[in-house]
């Protein structure tokens, strides 16, 4: 997890805790999970791009 994403998740947590309505709190906490998924997917796709670009046979 990058520093930015850790910070972002903390911000979302704080915002969620400030919501008095249960369904609003639920929304922000669920958004946090999607952000975590974005990070994970971005890392995986970035890795795949690197892996496929690094082709010694084409040097």
């Amino acid at each position: 997890m990058t520093e930015q994403s850790a910070w972002l998740r903390q911000q979302i947590d704080q915002l969620a805790n400030q919501q008095s309505k249960f369904t609003d709190r639920a929304f922000w906490l669920a958004l946090k999970q999607v952000v975590a998924e974005q990070d994970r997917r971005s890392e995986q796709l970035g890795g795949e791009v690197d892996g496929r670009t690094w082709r010694p046979d084409r040097w």
Partner: protein
């Protein structure tokens, strides 16, 4: 997209899970109806509701491996042969059918060798057959196991999972999930009190950036793969 939620429960007011789900309904275009709450079933009205919906949700507790009797009665009264397929108009064709089912037993009970020795998919076979006959698209079932044992974090999660099941584009992929959240995010930020607006906007902006970045990576990868194929 219009979603029609048909709830079947003989004692709705006494059901904490059904009351919870009712409170969790999204603000979108959702029509909610309690089947047993109507003194008589108005067949024309019921059929019209079905015609106008894009996604139809049948929601009920599981009683002896089936829906409560009220839903069967509704099916037998409203889903006449002529309406569903008899006159070859197929008014339900292409619509999605989803099932929200609550159970008193835990998830692991619903498998071969488990306490119930049957999967929920197997139990839903008659409804899936109906969907097939009506040329509807069957959505993966949304089970809620042992609602009364859920802790607060699980209940918070349930609110949004349920809302997404009702209104999010299928399949439940990251792309569709992102779209669902993006669609709601600005309204959610707008309704925040003034002192929380800045944080809300910042979160929304990073979320959008992440989404755009993922799209870009996906495109790059597709290009690389295309070149590899050449």
């Amino acid at each position: 997209m219009t979603t029609l939620v048909l709830v079947s429960h003989p004692q709705l007011a006494d059901s904490t899970s059904q009351q919870f789900l009712k409170e969790s309904l999204p603000d979108d275009d959702v029509v909610w109806e309690h089947i047993e709450g109507q003194s008589t079933l108005d067949v024309t009205k019921e059929q019209d509701q079905l015609r106008h919906a894009d996604r139809i949700i049948l929601q009920f507790p599981l009683y002896w491996y089936a829906a409560p009797a009220g839903l069967k009665q509704w099916e037998d009264t409203v889903l006449t042969r002529t309406f569903v397929y008899g006159d070859h108009r197929d008014p339900l064709a292409g619509k999605e059918l989803g099932i929200v089912v609550t159970t008193g037993m835990p998830k692991q009970a619903f498998q071969r060798g488990g306490a119930e020795n049957v999967t929920l998919d197997a139990v839903m076979a008659p409804l899936a057959a109906l969907a097939h006959r009506a040329k509807m698209t069957w959505l993966p079932t949304f089970p809620i196991y042992q609602f009364s044992y859920l802790e607060e974090p699980e209940k918070l999660q349930l609110v949004i999972d349920y809302q997404r099941y009702l209104t999010q584009k299928q399949p439940d992929s990251l792309t569709n999930r992102q779209e669902w959240f993006a669609h709601r995010l600005s309204a959610m930020v707008d309704q925040l009190p003034a002192e929380q607006q800045t944080t809300g906007k910042l979160i929304a902006s990073i979320f959008d950036q992440n989404r755009a970045h993922l799209d870009q990576l996906t495109d790059t990868l597709a290009m690389i793969k295309e070149q590899e194929d050449d």
